[in-house]
């Protein structure tokens, strides 16, 4: 499925990360119309290859106008907008009418905020579609690489998963690196690439696994962690044996290139339930 039919352009409100790009590419490949409103400071450079406008996250009226002008009746919100620092003086009139509902939601965390924004957009007459409806993810367990995980790797994977599960309630922990039962890294705000780079700078030995999972409470209809060829390169520099991602919880960007890079380096990739 790639969303509503060709008569209606799909509006894509695009934040950070890989998901909005995959949504746009799915529409383009299916030959279906779409219009991206990229959020300034969040959306990546990939957006310039697609029909798009860039708007500030505070310019709610302009965002709605852009969608209306393009004739969008259906909208997808895709990509993270992790707690933006918003200057209240920059909020436009429309945003100000939203504010009484947004402020309490802001204090409750990401999920409450997203539910509120969804309700406000629907009140504008827009029909919201989850990005996961346009880029369906139905991956079974798979090790697409030539290298396969060992029993030692599996034991480190179990430990990394236990750590991520323990952190789930604390809004942290999309990734962890474990080697021989020792925890080399736990992903924080600064992301996987930063964690891997730091490990590579300091360790002198070799081995271990990176495990990436959807953070508990993270809405896979809007934002998902991703790996790609760059992640493989960083994992190699960090001396790892392999990368483990949660099936249907973590995206692979450029899957063929990612698997090829892993094969060239002798790394395994394990898509794991």
């Amino acid at each position: 499925m790639t969303g509503p039919g060709p008569a209606t352009p799909l509006g894509i409100i695009a934040g950070r990360g890989a998901l909005p790009r995959l949504v746009a590419e799915a529409r383009a490949q299916a030959g279906l119309p779409y219009m991206i409103v990229g959020l300034d400071g969040f959306v990546g450079d990939w957006v310039h290859d697609h029909p798009h406008e860039i708007q500030a996250i505070t310019a709610v009226r302009r965002i709605l106008n852009a969608l209306a002008t393009a004739g969008c009746t259906h909208v997808t919100m895709a990509g993270g907008v992790e707690r933006p620092v918003v200057n209240p003086l920059k909020l436009d009139g429309k945003a100000l009418t939203w504010l009484p509902k947004l402020l309490p939601a802001l204090r409750k965390g990401d999920d409450a905020l997203l539910r509120t924004v969804r309700g406000l957009l629907e009140a504008e007459g827009l029909i919201l579609i989850g990005a996961d409806q346009i880029v369906p993810l139905t991956w079974a367990e798979d090790v697409p690489t030539r290298a396969k995980p060992s029993a030692d790797n599996a034991s480190d994977v179990a430990k990394a998963e236990a750590i991520l599960a323990a952190l789930a309630a604390h809004d942290v922990g999309q990734g962890a690196v474990v080697h021989r039962g020792l925890t080399l890294g736990i992903e924080t705000l600064f992301g996987t690439d930063h964690m891997l780079e730091m490990i590579g700078q300091v360790r002198s030995d070799h081995g271990g696994v990176l495990v990436k999972r959807l953070k508990q409470g993270q809405d896979r209809a809007i934002d998902m962690p991703a790996i790609g060829p760059q992640t493989v390169e960083n994992a190699v520099r960090a001396g790892l044996d392999g990368i483990v991602i949660e099936a249907n919880g973590v995206l692979i960007l450029d899957r063929d290139a990612t698997v090829a890079a892993a094969d060239e380096a002798g790394l395994f990739i394990w898509i794991k339930p």
Copy 2:
């Protein structure tokens, strides 16, 4: 209390970290005899200011001989020896007789290992004393710096403590850095200084707290985390507002110098139950 009386030199089997140094300094200041057996690759350079021998961790017979030659009947094991990589070919005869008991303990983790080593030393006729008996730690809640934590800091401290508590069962997490509810760093194998350095390299804003606590299951009679003037310097470079340490769980090295460095930088230090 500074251990057994002047007639009997205290043997100090010294690993990594601050605790063995504090034990030696307490004995020296009390004018009581002592003899350090520093474990090669673990003990710090401070040992050269004290009566000492350096021995490999595998040279069990030599370690026991050094203690016997010095006339030690009482022994303290102080300082971490985090899972040393031991070449079995280097184990001496005595170590080999210990091996059948050590190997199963090694697989069970640090605590089981320490209990086993303690039992083996006691079987040699040595009386074991916890380092916490020689360097007593009885700190009440205190903010010894001019800067004091704010309500925002306290809320970040609570979050960092919750993260460390969640990780306690997984043998990781002596420290965490939180700012405005966002987790900037979680300490792993590579330690506090590394974590702070990495945060300083990547962040562009300012604020937040470092919280350090004794890792659950960590034996304060043998090993304790520590902060010192260097920690303050690293915290300043990481842009933090303050450092929070667990009373009776984390050592302050050179307390006067540490507080002075914090005061100069406007950082708070909070000794917290």
